[in-house]
Structure formats: structure tokens, C-alpha cells
């Protein structure tokens, strides 16, 4: 454990800095500069006018979940429980049932995600063997005034569309 010892030079010990007032005035000139610039032209403020101007969401950003579908409209999910098993927050609750569209044997009859529990880690997306669950909706603001609507079900998950094209998603995500 013999690291290289570097002795840092102590600042603020000479008379010029200990007078303090000069340094205070230097600092105040800096802040006044910002104030005057912004007062004269408030388009120079470094802010996003949020509710009206939305931030740009990158492709790899993990937003609210959605369930994808095949080209013919049948869902990709096969109710393998991989995402539910992998979920560290235990927010996914799947109930499997018999498949009726003939693709495989199983499909979920219930697929609930409790968004209040979810930590948006993306493990479910990585675990999914069918690329059925994705977090590419770009929805970053999940709000509500009651607890119940935060548990979203199968219909809502299927109805939400991705915010990006398949090509963009593959480029950014994989």
C-alpha cells in the first residue's frame, strides 16, 4: 500500500487572499456578469422550457415498458417468466395461460407491471428471449394521483408504441 504521496499546495494563506474583500469582489463581478447578461436578454438562460419543450430522449434510454407484437399482430411474449424471475424489484406479475393463436403453447393472460415498484433497471429487457418486453417508449414522466393506475396491465403494455424505428433501436440498443 505504498502510494505516491503528493502534497497539495494550500491556497488562501497569502495576504492578498486573506484580505478576502478583493476575492469577494472578483466573485461578485462574475455573478453580476451572469445577472446582467440574462437580464438584458433572457433567451440566453440555460433552461429548457419544459412542459412545452420536451427533452430529446436517446434510443438507449430506459422509459416505460411495452410488449411487442409479431407482424400479424400476435404478441411475442410466451409467458416464460424470465423477466419476472430476473426482476430485482419484483414488480412484474405474470399469469400464464394457454395460447389460442397457435404460435406456441403459452401466452400471458395477465401481465402486470407495478410502476411504483419498478426501478427501471432494464433487466427484464435483457432477460427476454423473445424480445417481447422493451423499454423504448420514451415515456419518462409517469404520474398519477392514485396508486391503482400505476399497475399497468397487458392491454396497456401492448397498446403503447415504441418511440423509435426498429432500425434505430437495433443500432442503439444492441
Amino acid at each position: 500500500m505504498s502510494g505516491k504521496i503528493r502534497i497539495m499546495e494550500r491556497k488562501g494563506k497569502d495576504l492578498y487572499e486573506r484580505l478576502y474583500l478583493i476575492e469577494v469582489f472578483k466573485g461578485m463581478v462574475v455573478t453580476l456578469g451572469h445577472f446582467i447578461t440574462n437580464l438584458l436578454d433572457n433567451s440566453k438562460l440555460l433552461v429548457r422550457h419544459y412542459p412545452e419543450v420536451k427533452p430529446e430522449i436517446p434510443v438507449r434510454w430506459r422509459g416505460r415498458h411495452r410488449l411487442t407484437v409479431h407482424e400479424d399482430g400476435t404478441m411475442k411474449c410466451v409467458a416464460c417468466f424470465m423477466c419476472q424471475t430476473n426482476c430485482p424489484a419484483k414488480c412484474i406479475m405474470i399469469e400464464a395461460g394457454e395460447r389460442i393463436d397457435g404460435r406456441t403453447e403459452k401466452m400471458p393472460v395477465k401481465f402486470n407491471i407495478d410502476l411504483l415498484e419498478c426501478i427501471y433497471c432494464g433487466y427484464c429487457v435483457e432477460a427476454c428471449p423473445m424480445e417481447a418486453i422493451r423499454m423504448d417508449t420514451g415515456i419518462f414522466s409517469v404520474t398519477g394521483s392514485e396508486r391503482e393506475p400505476f399497475v399497468i396491465g397487458l392491454e396497456e403494455l401492448l397498446a403503447t408504441k415504441g418511440a423509435f424505428t426498429e432500425e434505430e433501436y437495433k443500432k442503439g440498443g444492441a
Binding site: 455573478t31 436578454d41 440566453k44 440555460l46 412545452e52
Partner: protein, 428 residues
């Protein structure tokens, strides 16, 4: 007492009572928008009444409504409920009445009778302020103690120690200022500063007493518990310090008291060191003698300022993003119309004054109004300095605070007294 006496009495008391209260809104607004601009963000600018935001001033109204309608909690563990309620009242009232002795215009002479333009027309002047300023901290100590909370007590103790440390340099700075002015009466002090040094420099306290001014300003910052001396409510270590147990309007009283104290001490700094109500190079007598040319000058200058101001409004009061039929532009147009209407009204008033009543009493009243405006502008600028310092400097550590007070400011102010007295004696 004649009717005029009573009218002037009411006017002066109303001014001394309501102007500090109005300045709470202005100071809070200046603090929040100023902080925003200094940190390159916009500050609260959304609250509106029918789309009128008044540059964010409406936010104060929203905050006030919130504070008034919130639940007023007195925690169950508090034994001394009377003192708990009394504390914010002390802080607020003391701050408010210490403004009463500050003159906001030169003595008004009507029919040979002199009216001091102060809330309380007294000769006590600076002594009134000194007596009350230290008393304001009792409210803070009482709040800390009666909260029965370790953070509250610590905050109160810190406030007490801080005021003891900074009252002394403040008093000594005032002593050296009094040596120069030769009076404790604030109106006379401000009149003294209307003179000219070497015939061209305004004889302001800050020029005669630069070190005294710096010491006084620093001590005034400490006295009002403002950054960099706001250890009493240091939120990083004491949660909220002395007002940690207060909620609703009782907290609001502390909050308002802080801003009234800020306004009062700004007014006092202005009166002692920045010429008070004096317009530089224009003493009261000059103004009265040249009232007509000055009012003509005002009539020319007002539209010019209004033009600049409206240009600034139309440039800045618009949405920074694409918007159909931008409501902010409509809002700005209303403001611009209002400003031009105000300018037109003032022009008419000044015109009527010029052709009918100029000369005599009307001149003196005009000068008084001009001086009140000057005083308020100077005080607003000083309040801005408070805001500016708050958003520039970090808080002192406790030992640094005491060291600065006792080891730097105290010897410096003593030295200042000796040097000042020596010069005053030498110059006779």
C-alpha cells in the same frame, strides 16, 4: 394640530409602515428571480392572473396564499406555547419599527413649519436603530429556545453569539461616522451628505468613511442573518435552525421579518453612507430653486426611459419556443400600453404643475417626491446587493465568523475611530 399636521402625520406613518411591507414582495421577487439569473436559470415566472405574470411578482401572491392556508402546527412537545407564538411577532415587529426613524426625504417646509419625513419624527435617529436592532435577535433566541429542539437551540445560540460579536464593530463604525457627521439625527446626517467635497464629489459617507462603510455593511449583513453570516439557519447542519419547528404563517412571519430587516438595514446603510435621500450634486435647496427646469427635464427624460423600458419588455417578455398567438407578447403589449399611459398621466400632472402652482409649496412637495423616489431606488439597489452577495458567497464556518468579528473587524473599527478623530481634530 392643524388639518395639515394630521394629514402629514398619517401620510408619514403610512409610508413607514406600508413601504417596508410592500418591499417584502419586491425583495422576495428580486431574490428569487435574481438567484435565477445569477445561476443562468429563469426563476419562478409561471404563476399568473389571467395571463399576467408581472415578471414573476404574482408568484409572491401564490406563496402568500399557500402559507396562509397551510395547517398551523404547534408541536405537542412544546411547553412554552406563549413564547413560541411570541417569537416570530418580535422578529417581525422589531424589524418593521426600526425603519420608523429613517428619513425618506428631506424635512418638508410648509408655511414656515418643518416636518421631518420619518415615520416617527424624532431626533433619536441612529440610536433608535441601535436600540432595536439588537432586540430583534431576542425573537430568534426565543424561537430556538421555545422550540425545544436541539437544532432550534443551536440556531438560537449561534444567532446570539453572532449578534454579540458584530454589534460591537457595528457600533464602533457608527461612532466613527458620528465623529464625521457630528450628529445622531439621521435627517441631519443625510443633509450633511448633500454637500460637495472639493466642489465636485458628493460628500457621501462612503467617501469620507470607506473603512467604516465596509465594516458597517459587513456587520449589517451579520445582523440581518443573511448569507454569508446565516449560520443561525444553516440548513446543511441545522436543518432550518431556529425556525425548524415553525410552519404556516408563523414561519411566514420569520420569512417576512428577514426581508423587512433586510430593507431596514439597506435603508440605514443608504442613509449613513450613500447620501440617503440626496440626489448626487443636487442638494435640497438647489432642487427647490430650480424646480421648474428640473420638472421640464423630467418631462423630457421620462419618455426616453419609458422607450428603453418598453423596448426591454418587448424583447424579453415573449415565449422562447414556437407558439401560436403568443400570449406573452399580448401580455407585453398590455404592459407597454400601461407604461405609456402612466407616462402620459405624469406628463399631464407635471404640465399642470408648471403652468399653475409652481413656485412656493408645490416646489417643495415635488422635491420631496423626487427625494422619496431617489431614496427608494437607492434602497432597492442596496437590497439587490444583499441578494447578489447571497448568491455569490458561501457561508462562513462558525470559527471563521467569530475570528472575522473579533480579530479583524473590531481592531479595524477601533483604528478607524482613531484615524477619523485625528483627521477631524487636525482639520478643526
Amino acid at each position: 394640530m392643524s388639518q395639515l399636521d394630521i394629514l402629514l402625520l398619517i401620510l408619514r406613518v403610512a409610508f413607514a409602515a406600508f413601504v417596508p411591507l410592500c418591499f417584502i414582495a419586491v425583495c422576495v421577487w428580486m431574490e428569487r428571480r435574481g438567484a435565477g439569473f445569477i445561476q443562468d436559470r429563469s426563476g419562478p415566472n409561471r404563476a399568473n392572473i389571467f395571463g399576467f405574470r408581472a415578471g414573476g411578482l404574482v408568484q409572491n401572491l401564490a406563496d402568500a396564499i399557500k402559507l396562509i392556508t397551510k395547517e398551523d402546527v404547534i408541536p405537542g412537545h412544546i411547553k412554552q406555547k406563549f413564547y413560541f407564538v411570541l417569537a416570530p411577532v418580535i422578529v417581525f415587529t422589531i424589524a418593521l419599527i426600526s425603519f420608523a426613524a429613517v428619513p425618506f426625504a428631506d424635512a418638508l417646509i410648509i408655511n414656515g413649519k418643518q416636518y421631518l419625513m420619518q415615520g416617527i419624527p424624532t431626533d433619536l435617529g441612529i440610536l433608535w436603530f441601535l436600540a432595536l436592532a439588537g432586540f430583534g435577535v431576542y425573537g430568534i433566541i426565543l424561537a430556538g429556545w421555545s422550540s425545544h429542539n436541539k437544532y432550534g437551540v443551536l440556531g438560537g445560540l449561534r444567532a446570539a453569539a453572532q449578534v454579540i460579536s458584530y454589534e460591537i464593530p457595528m457600533g464602533l463604525a457608527i461612532v466613527s461616522a458620528l465623529i464625521v457627521y457630528g450628529t445622531v439625527n439621521l435627517t441631519e446626517i443625510a443633509q450633511f451628505q448633500g454637500q460637495l467635497l472639493f466642489g465636485f464629489i458628493p460628500m457621501w459617507g462612503v467617501i469620507l468613511q470607506p473603512i467604516g462603510a465596509i465594516i458597517f455593511i459587513i456587520a449589517a449583513f451579520a445582523e440581518t442573518n443573511r448569507t454569508p453570516f446565516d449560520l443561525a439557519e444553516g440548513e446543511s447542519e441545522l436543518v432550518a435552525g431556529f425556525h425548524v419547528e415553525y410552519s404556516s404563517m408563523k414561519f411566514g412571519m420569520f420569512f417576512m421579518g428577514e426581508y423587512v430587516a433586510m430593507f431596514t438595514s439597506s435603508a440605514l446603510i443608504v442613509t449613513l453612507y450613500f447620501g440617503g435621500f440626496q440626489i448626487p450634486w443636487f442638494s435640497t435647496e438647489t432642487l427647490v430653486n430650480f424646480a421648474r427646469p428640473i420638472s421640464v427635464l423630467l418631462m423630457v427624460l421620462m419618455p426616453a426611459f419609458a422607450k428603453l423600458f418598453t423596448f426591454w419588455i418587448s424583447k424579453n417578455n415573449k415565449s422562447q419556443y414556437e407558439r401560436v398567438d403568443d400570449p406573452r407578447v399580448r401580455e407585453a403589449n398590455v404592459y407597454i400600453k400601461g407604461i405609456w399611459g402612466l407616462v402620459a398621466a405624469l406628463e399631464i400632472v407635471l404640465f399642470i404643475y408648471l403652468i399653475t402652482v409652481s413656485g412656493g409649496v408645490a416646489d417643495r412637495i415635488l422635491v420631496t417626491i423626487l427625494q422619496i423616489i431617489t431614496f427608494l431606488v437607492k434602497t432597492t439597489l442596496m437590497c439587490f446587493v444583499y441578494v447578489w452577495v447571497r448568491w455569490t458567497l458561501p457561508r462562513f464556518r462558525y470559527d471563521q465568523l467569530q475570528k472575522l468579528g473579533w480579530q479583524t473587524l473590531l481592531p479595524l473599527s477601533l483604528l478607524n475611530i482613531f484615524v477619523t478623530s485625528a483627521i477631524v481634530v487636525a482639520l478643526g
